[in-house]
């Protein structure tokens, strides 16, 4: 309450009453304010009561509201991961049972009938594992990644196919804390453990329509667009590239800037930009205001290279996207578009790529081939992988007379394939002395020693050397995958290739095929098979059915790997749940602290408010009494 400064010679009656009125009404207003604070328990009733404090209050309230979302997310993640954990626990139990069955059925004291009985148990285990794999939680398939609307594992021809996705969902659990609340079903069930990874760098050439967003950037950090400063030694211009979307936009912007005769173009190496100089242009390109645009575009040049010298930029790393044209791949060399022959188990499909224009067309052609095989651009954006999502069957990728598979680097068997990789990694059996015996049509036999061969081509060379280049020649097929033996002797006999010296080399190399006329076309013995949980269970069941002890042991080993992997994933899941628990506790602690702070700022300090209330009450009483006394006093009373 402010006091009216008074230095007056005389006091009029009106002044006295006015002062009394204003003093009383002011005290009453303040009393009302305190009364309001006391009855509501709030010190701040509107932000203007204390703008500084209320700004903080608003921020804190917002923080609490945001934390509510974090807390909800944590609860959801905890229950979903809890469900995952119990599923994984079920799964390890089932796999343990399978392993026990396997070890119980190895040995001479078990009969074939008993093994067949065990196979029936494994069959039931298979369906239990499938139901765990397709478990739902609140409408979400736990192991389906971001395709969680449909069951991720489905029965397919000869095996179980993964139709989920390896992309797992994240959510935010605290400021700057983003964690996945799913586990990758493909990893848990080993669904995609093997794939044909494209071995060829398909990086496309730069075109005017290449999007800046699709570049890896010269420093592999992407291209962060801003302005660059271009100078030819006399003229210097700032070129704003922040609105550029494509390479053409960058070119246009630099060309429009009119820095001497400097023009931008795509360099002849097809992977970088080039700034061409005219006449005496002495080119420098520098960053503006701490940006990285010039460096990202590979055209940063702080010291000029000399008059008239072009600035040939660095590789900006254009990435393969679905929209990339096939003709632009491999820096514009393109790929052969004859097509592929895909085999998955018993299903074979010819993928015709003759009318494909973009990578997406290729991907669609593969994905719709009915073999279940999927094509994907690899994570680095440099190539294309083929994935076999079906467990229990093998996939091969072969040429259809062209070089498509080789160009992409996805041919499952090629002359360069190492023998050790064949037959699911078992390789090709070698013995002391020759392993192969080939009988020509003219009846002549010759033997081939492939002990020193490392690749398929080495085998071909060995065969050709063994027969001296005449009679039977070996080559690699152009349609399909395999070694081709061609007999030019024209005899009446039967061309054949067999293993000798107790080796299995002919089978291992796929050469034990019946001859068709004067040729034998070998089979692809490098089928890509997913050895996941379902595949291994199926192998176990087959081996039990066939009473194949070696098969049972092999399947048991596979199941052991699966078991170990799942235990590891379960451990990771458990750790994540613990982390979330810790975060939840911290959030609650923080909320408590914030609530206290809010209360300090917002709530009435009752001790202070009550004592203020009493002071004001006393003041009001004093005002009223003084006023009553003073107003009642007048000289008029004493006039007679």
């Amino acid at each position: 309450m402010s006091i009216v400064p008074l230095q007056l010679a005389r006091v009029s009656n009106l002044l006295r009453s006015n002062l009394a009125t204003s003093a009383i009404s002011r005290t009453q207003a303040q009393l009302l304010d305190v009364q309001n604070q006391l009855t509501t328990g709030q010190r701040l009733n509107s932000p203007s009561d204390d703008p500084g404090a209320s700004a903080i209050v608003q921020q804190l309230q917002k923080l609490m509201e945001q934390r509510q979302a974090y807390s909800d997310n944590i609860k959801h993640a905890q229950s979903q991961l809890g469900e995952v954990d119990s599923s994984l626990s079920d799964l390890t139990d089932l796999l343990q049972q399978a392993q026990q069955i396997a070890s119980a059925n190895v040995g001479s004291d078990v009969t074939a009938q008993e093994r067949q009985g065990a196979a029936a148990v494994v069959k039931s285990l298979q369906s239990q594992v499938l139901s765990v794999a397709n478990k739902q939680f609140e409408g979400v398939f736990l192991f389906a990644g971001d395709r969680s609307t449909d069951a991720p594992f489905v029965d397919a021809v000869g095996g179980v196919k993964f139709v989920g996705d390896s992309n797992v969902l994240d959510n935010v659990y605290d400021e700057n804390t983003q964690l996945p609340f799913m586990v990758d079903g493909a990893e848990v069930f080993g669904a995609l453990s093997t794939r044909v990874q494209g071995t060829v760098d398909l990086s496309p050439r730069l075109t005017p329509t290449t999007r800046i967003a699709d570049l890896k950037g010269a420093t592999n950090d992407g291209v962060r667009l801003g302005s660059v400063q271009v100078s030819n030694g006399t003229i210097t211009r700032i070129v704003d590239l922040s609105n550029a979307d494509t390479i053409a936009d960058v070119q246009n912007a630099i060309n429009q800037a009119g820095v001497g005769g400097i023009t931008a173009a795509i360099a002849p190496d097809n992977n970088s930009l080039i700034l061409n100089a005219t006449g005496s242009d002495n080119i420098t390109v520098t960053e503006v205001g701490g940006g990285t645009t010039a460096a990202d575009l590979g055209i940063l040049q702080k010291t000029p290279a000399g008059a008239g010298v072009a600035l040939d930029g660095q590789n900006v790393g254009a990435q393969v996207t679905l929209l990339t044209k096939l003709a632009d791949l491999k820096l514009g060399a393109g790929i052969d578009q004859t097509g592929l022959i895909l085999t998955n188990g018993q299903t074979t499909a010819t993928v015709d790529l003759s009318s494909a224009v973009t990578v997406e067309d290729l991907v669609n052609a593969v994905n719709s081939s009915k073999t279940g095989v999927l094509a994907k651009i690899n994570d680095a954006g440099t190539g294309i992988d083929l994935v076999n999502p079906t467990q229990g069957v093998a996939m091969t990728v072969a040429e259809n007379g062209g070089t498509t598979a080789a160009d992409i680097g996805i041919r499952s068997l090629a002359p360069t394939t190492k023998l050790a990789e064949l037959n699911g990694g078992k390789g090709v059996s070698t013995v002391n002395g020759p392993e192969l015996q080939i009988t020509r049509k003219d009846g002549t036999q010759f033997q081939v020693d492939i002990s020193s061969a490392v690749t398929v081509q080495d085998v071909i060379n060995a065969i050709n050397t063994a027969d001296g280049g005449a009679g039977v020649t070996a080559s690699f097929t152009t349609t399909g995958n395999g070694i081709v033996l061609t007999d030019s002797t024209g005899g009446a006999g039967q061309l054949s290739a067999i293993s000798i010296n107790f080796s299995t080399a002919a089978t291992d190399l796929g050469l034990d095929q019946p001859a068709s006329g004067s040729t034998i076309t070998g089979a692809d013995t490098n089928g890509i098979e997913v050895s996941g949980v379902f595949g291994n269970l199926q192998k176990l069941r087959n081996a039990l059915d066939a009473s194949d002890q070696a098969g049972i042991t092999a399947a048991a080993e596979g199941l052991k790997d699966d078991y170990d992997r799942i235990v590891r994933v379960r451990g990771e899941t458990g750790a994540r749940v613990q982390e979330l628990d810790a975060r939840d506790n911290r959030l609650q602690d923080e909320n408590l602290a914030t609530t206290k702070l809010l209360s300090d700022l917002k709530d009435t300090d009752f001790t202070e408010a009550i004592s203020r209330f009493q002071t004001l009450q006393t003041a009001l009483q004093a005002s009223l009494q003084t006023t009553a006394k003073v107003m009642g006093l007048s000289l008029m009373d004493f006039l007679s």
Partner: protein, 569 residues
């Protein structure tokens, strides 16, 4: 020197004391009148009579004037302080109302609504395939849109209230100025243009002072006085000059931003009146402030709409579109999309987006890049027509422009269309696959198409139905620094709006207390000089009564002396 002379002395005393008594009586009668100025009767000895060379005798008392006890300088300071204190009071009152519209610090404010809305997106990210959670997002979106609309409506209605009040006050001010002009006439007539050196038309002058004070309540005025005439100025422009009232009126004009503003003018010449204080000055400022708050609210809503739509337009829902029509119409489909002539509220920039055509049966997609060329070079910038024809060129899709709106249809019921990777903002600007429709707080709403078919609400970014990247990006939007908000986030911007009002209201509150103190001090000083003290008047009364009685005694003494003289004869 004569007895008759002495009799005259007594008579003059009687007459003068009678007049003084009347002045005292008048003072007492007006003791409770705040507009009244205490008057004093000025007495002076009457002219001496020379009775001998070098010897003079008094002839009684003269009344030289009845004067108001007034300090004009103090009065004009008082008027200025009245203007200021009224202005602060009014500002405080109205800003308090603005503040209560926001209802901040409670649990029912817009800020909580926004939190709920963004939290709903965050929750959708937990189960992006869920339709029920989409409903929650939509409902919270509707409530945020409703809150924005409501906030704006209340602010506009507050502005209308200010206008109404201003109209009333301008009328009052005009009337007061008219009355002052009239009183100027009456005072000149009464005083004959002599001014008040020896006391003037005190009652009329008091009344005029009262009117001036009332006028200062409304407008900050300054005055000059010249021979009984008071000229009233606002700034340097005259409002009342002599007996002419220039009049106070209002004019509504549209400013450069297309907003309706209210201006105070002189009615006679339509000139702008620069009112800076008083109730009218305060209301003009408050009106501006409300207007700014509406603009800020609109700007916030526009940013929320556009930024959210930019993310949403590049996302995909559980279903694709069999047909989609843009929600914002273009007024001229032949001008570039970023041309103001296009009539779009939001501006697209140079960039591109991808159109996906999906075969529902196989799930196979074909994607096509659509360039949005807005670099302003080569005269080939994208217009709505050219955009429609480049979309139309995509296999399986037909696109056309209908009444300024882009219509995209899948060619067959086996196909559906979706969009992604929009770096141009063109889809959001046109309102294709958008979450919010509308341009600002005035017409913000959740897209009716999404309300009707919640499966179109986009949570995914990579085309997979169970993906949540769009939902995550939108959930994070509230805290993202936006260049269009000068690198503040949506929530910071909202807090800045609320705090702006709060600080103004708090300042007004402090000002109101301070100016009130100044006014009271000045009023006390005025009362000290011009107020009536009954005790003082009681003393005057006694003095004058005694003087009258004594003068009567003189007359009766002279009378006796005269009787003696007459009896001598």
């Amino acid at each position: 020197m004569s007895l008759i002379g002495t009799l005259n002395v007594g008579q003059s005393a009687l007459a003068v004391q009678q007049a003084a008594l009347q002045v005292t009586g008048n003072n007492i009668a007006n003791a409770g009148n705040a507009d009244y100025t205490r008057q004093t009767a000025n007495l002076a000895p009457a002219l001496d009579q020379k009775i001998q060379p070098g010897m003079f005798v008094g002839t009684g008392v003269d009344l030289t004037g009845i004067q108001r006890q007034i300090d004009e300088a103090l009065n004009s300071r008082l008027r200025a302080s009245v203007s200021d204190s009224q202005a602060a009071d009014t500002t405080q009152q109205w800003l308090g109302r603005v503040e209560s519209v926001f209802n901040e610090l409670s649990d029912q404010d817009l800020s909580t609504g926004m939190s709920n809305f963004f939290n709903a997106w965050s929750n959708l990210a937990n189960q992006p395939q869920d339709v029920g959670l989409r409903q929650v997002v939509i409902q919270n979106g509707q409530s945020v849109a409703g809150d924005f609309q409501n906030l704006r409506k209340q602010l506009v209605s507050l502005q209308t209230d200010v206008d109404d009040r201003l109209t009333g006050l301008a009328g009052d001010a005009d009337q007061l100025a008219g009355q002052i002009a009239d009183l100027n006439q009456q005072i000149v007539n009464a005083e004959g243009g002599a001014g008040d050196a020896n006391g003037g038309a005190n009652g009329l002058r008091d009344r005029r002072d009262a009117l001036l004070k009332q006028l200062s309540n409304l407008i900050d005025v300054t005055t000059t006085e010249d021979k009984g005439v008071v000229n009233v100025y606002v700034g340097s422009e005259p409002l009342v000059i002599g007996t002419t009232n220039m009049g106070v009126g209002l004019k509504q004009t549209t400013d450069d931003k297309g907003r309706l503003t209210t201006e105070v003018i002189f009615k006679q010449n339509n000139g702008t009146m620069k009112v800076t204080s008083g109730q009218i000055g305060a209301l003009v400022n408050v009106r501006q402030q409300i207007s700014d708050t509406i603009d800020n609210t609109d700007n916030l809503a526009a940013n929320l709409i556009f930024e959210l739509n930019k993310i949403h337009a590049s996302g995909q829902g559980l279903d694709g579109f069999s047909s989609v029509t843009s929600s914002s119409a273009v007024s001229d489909p032949t001008v570039p999309l970023n041309d103001p002539k296009s009539g779009l509220k939001f501006t697209a920039k140079n960039g591109s987006f991808v159109v996906h055509v999906r075969q529902k049966a196989t799930g196979l997609e074909t994607s096509t890049l659509v360039q949005v060329d807005l670099d302003g070079l080569n005269g080939n910038d994208t217009t709505l027509n050219s955009l429609a024809s480049s979309i139309d060129a995509i296999n399986g899709v037909s696109a056309s422009v209908n009444a300024g709106k882009l219509v995209v249809n899948a060619d067959s019921s086996d196909l559906e269309v979706s969009f992604s990777q929009d770096s141009s903002g063109a889809l959001a600007a046109l309102g294709v696959n958008n979450f919010f429709t509308g341009a600002d707080a005035r017409d913000m709403a959740v897209n009716q198409t999404i309300q009707d078919q919640p499966t179109l609400l986009a949570a995914a970014k990579n085309g997979n139905k169970g993906d949540n990247q769009t939902a995550l990006a939108i959930a994070a939007l509230e805290s993202n620094k936006l260049p269009s908000l000068k690198n503040a986030s949506l929530k910071e911007n909202y807090q800045a709006i609320v705090n702006g009002v709060a600080v103004s209201a708090a300042t007004a509150k402090t000002n109101a207390e301070a100016t009130q103190t100044v006014q009271q001090t000045l009023e006390a000083q005025r009362e000290g000089l011009s107020g009536v003290s009954l005790d003082e008047e009681a003393i005057n009364l006694m003095r004058q009564q005694r003087a009258f009685q004594a003068a009567s005694r003189v007359i009766s003494a002279v009378d006796e002396l005269l009787k003696t003289v007459i009896q001598m004869a």
